[in-house]
Amino acid sequence: MLLTVAYLSKRFGDQPVLRDITCGLAAGQVLAVLGRSGGGKTTLLKILAGLETPDTGTVLLDGQDLLPVPPNERQMVYLYQEPLLFPHLTVFENVAFGLRIRQVGKNEIVQRVSKMLEELDLGAHAQKAPHQLSGGQRQRVSFGRALIIRPRLLLLDEPFGNLDAQTRADMQQLFLRVTRQHQITSLFVTHDSREALTVGTHFAYLDRGLLTSFPSVREFIQDPRTSIAAELTFWESIQRTAFQPDYET
């Protein structure tokens, strides 16, 4: 296992936010965590990123205890719902940020950033300011900025939540392509079951601080808490009704 989380708990005051979270993630896998707002998804990601500290529990990455490691040394990038591009930097410099702070050589930066921008279809926008880009383009820049440092784990907090349906679908496909190409291990949090099924290789459900991991996609779909089975039934009934000969009347 690349990531091992065991008995992770966190309270804010009297309110338990995470309760004995236990899960694992092998290299190259994408764990899609489905859950409603306020279920503890963001807190879980922030603890993994080192931005919050748990009350109890352990987090191991490749067998190494992560909890004493500061966030800037974890090589785990946390992506927000908003792209949060640096407004004073161009697209090129946004993507190059992680390399500049690691004092990578200029030639290598130009080469790696240019390649990343081409991969993300952003080559023509390298010298633009973030405000000159569309929502989907900004999110791609945000991806590029995260991927360029070759993170050991990518933590995504509903990254496509602010995009329209078509751009969202495009970004999901881009995410799949890029994570497979770069063999990125990810924990992808979403409240959209369709998105979870599209991007995930493994599935979990988080509600009121309790995480349920599913051994297969079948169990994930069949669990009534995910509401996927109910939604499927709904669409099937719609389809049946719509194709009945007398429906038009």
């Binding site: 080192g50 931005l51 800037n72 640096f86 407004p87 004073h88 940020f97 702070i101």
Partner: protein, 282 residues
């Protein structure tokens, strides 16, 4: 009628903020060439020619620029240090509210308070004498009405620093710099790298037009240098007022000329500077 009233108000406002200053500038120009003023006797260029032989205006301009740059520079540095170094205190404690207190104080009152505190006959000097740190009045350092303008700079810093701290704090929160901090940490940046590469450029670029206007306000301040400054070197506002208020009316054209040169010079410098900061604003 409903639509004419705002136009009328707009015209009146335009006249007030652009027309009157331009009229004043034109009157100063005419006065400087002998075409306006109580003793105007026809066109003459002698006041303009005499300008080259009088270094007073240049010294006053350089002195004022120096004081303004140092005062705003120090205030900016202190405000940035507070906002970037004490976020938790600014959000939870009474510190943010305390920053408003100096802003409620008129400049002249603050200058008077500083004079009482820092002059050689002031409270600090007396305390220092009582504590045996100084043996006589002259042994206490000149902190007000000094040649370097320490008192003037200090007074401006006390007024400008809290204003800039409140401005930077508002920009910090509005720009979601806390989220940027967390993001840059996971991208591998240290706290110092976040401040240097993200927070500082963002705060300074967003505040640039206000910083420029603060510098101009300090450059043209009157009350503080009047009380805490020396007769020489003088800051521009005091220099101009002194010349305009002389009893000899024959000196008025030279005062008009100085006023015109200062106002014109500031406009020439400021308009492109403001355009530049706005063009590069975020």
């Amino acid at each position: 009628m409903r639509f004419r009233l705002p136009k009328l108000l707009l015209g009146g406002y335009g006249l007030l903020v652009v027309g009157l200053p331009l009229a004043g500038l034109a009157y100063a120009l005419l006065g400087s060439v002998g075409l306006a003023g109580p003793l105007a006797a026809g066109f003459t260029g002698r006041y303009w020619l005499a300008l080259g032989h009088d270094p007073g205006l240049l010294y006053a301009a350089l002195y004022s620029a120096g004081v303004a740059l140092v005062a705003v520079g120090l205030s900016t540095g202190l405000a940035l240090a507070l906002v970037l170094g004490a976020q938790a205190a600014l959000r939870r404690g009474p510190l943010l509210g305390l920053l408003y207190v100096p802003l409620l104080m008129p400049a002249l009152v603050l200058a008077f308070y500083l004079f009482q505190l820092l002059s050689r006959s002031g409270w600090l000097s007396r305390l220092s004498y009582q504590a045996g740190l100084t043996s006589r009045l002259e042994a206490f350092p000149e902190l007000v009405q000094d040649a370097a303008g320490v008192g003037i700079v200090l007074a401006h810093v006390l007024l400008t620093f809290p204003f800039l701290a409140l401005l930077f704090q508002a920009i910090y929160q509005e720009s979601r710099l806390d989220d940027y901090y967390q993001l840059t940490r996971t991208l591998g940046a240290s706290a110092g790298q976040f401040r240097r590469r993200v927070a500082l450029p963002l705060l300074l670029r967003r505040a640039a037009p206000t910083l420029l206007l603060s510098t101009v306000a300090t450059l043209g301040a009157y009350d503080i240098p009047l009380l805490l400054g020396r007769p020489y070197p003088q800051m521009l506002s005091v220099y101009l007022t002194t010349r305009l208020q002389r009893f000899d009316l024959r000196e008025l054209p030279a005062a008009y000329l100085a006023g015109f040169v200062v106002a014109g010079g500031l406009l020439v410098l400021l308009v492109p500077a403001l355009r530049y900061t706005r063009r590069h604003a975020l």
